[in-house]
Symmetry: C2
């Protein structure tokens, strides 16, 4: 199986960008797949749920549904669904917004915060393990190189960008 991945798609050619992209995709998907599997097996959770909790952990005052939707770059209906699950399980609560009665403030419960911290610490160990193919020096190099790519991607025309369509203006 080692040689028969997506990357082999372009192996006959000398197309640098394409070969690089396929290798990048292969590596990222493999790491992501392991993390998804382990989140499910060890914590009975998923990446979007984990990401939502991670956002809340960084915002002790809580976040509105709208703000969560923007940060996770998915549409509101999905945030409603994930929040419903997490609230049922006692990890988060919706609190009434003090001044805007349309809005909720979603917060971690004490138990949710505690559970998330445990998950996050395990998750970080996984990432350390999975990226252990790189030395600290190499990690630093890749991190720097990715900064350049990231800034290039950020300057792309918005029409191309992934995620829900923002209303123009």
């Amino acid at each position: 199986m080692t040689e028969l991945d997506l990357e082999s798609r372009a192996s006959d050619h000398d197309h640098q960008a394409l070969r690089l992209w396929l290798r990048l995709l292969t590596c990222t998907h493999r790491v992501e797949g392991v993390i998804r599997n382990r989140l499910r097996q060890d914590f009975a959770t998923t990446l979007p749920r984990f990401d939502l909790l991670a956002q809340l952990e960084r915002s002790p005052d809580g976040l509105s549904m709208r703000e969560l939707s923007k940060r996770l770059m998915v549409t509101g209906g999905n945030i409603t669904g994930i929040t419903d699950q997490l609230e049922r399980e006692g990890l988060v609560v919706r609190e009434a917004h003090p001044s805007d009665r349309r809005s909720f403030t979603v917060k971690l419960t004490p138990s949710g915060r505690q559970q998330f911290k445990r998950m996050a610490s395990t998750h970080e160990q996984w990432v350390v393990e999975l990226l252990a193919g790189w030395s600290a020096e190499e990690k630093s190099q890749v991190h720097g190189l990715l900064a350049g790519l990231k800034s290039h991607l950020t300057n792309l025309p918005a029409v191309d960008v992934a995620g829900p369509k923002e209303k123009a203006q």
Copy 2:
């Protein structure tokens, strides 16, 4: 950094891995999202369909369903579904296997090959454009660095790996 004791250095490296992973994930997802959007808008197709065609393009004698399943690393039922679509659209055909009557050989039709070539060339231009944040020299660096990560990931215990569960033995 050099001033820190071993313990904080280790912990700093841990955060390094996590930060690097999040940046890697962000960049990859952004590129992937753009490509998915454009495949849908410009060619009314999807990444798995594109990948299946790409495998067939590299195998002029065709591939069995089982072989496609292994190469795309998804289970057989999914290959049946994608192949059904592509066959309905005239891009591929199932041919009887000469000696094994259980098996099909899936091949590109002439029209499918032509259409795929057009898509693949456009797809490559997209990748070139999206990775233009890196110079040729930087692309080459990243490609080399990813080789190290890829080989580390390949040596992970199979139990962790993403994709369908292979029958042990």
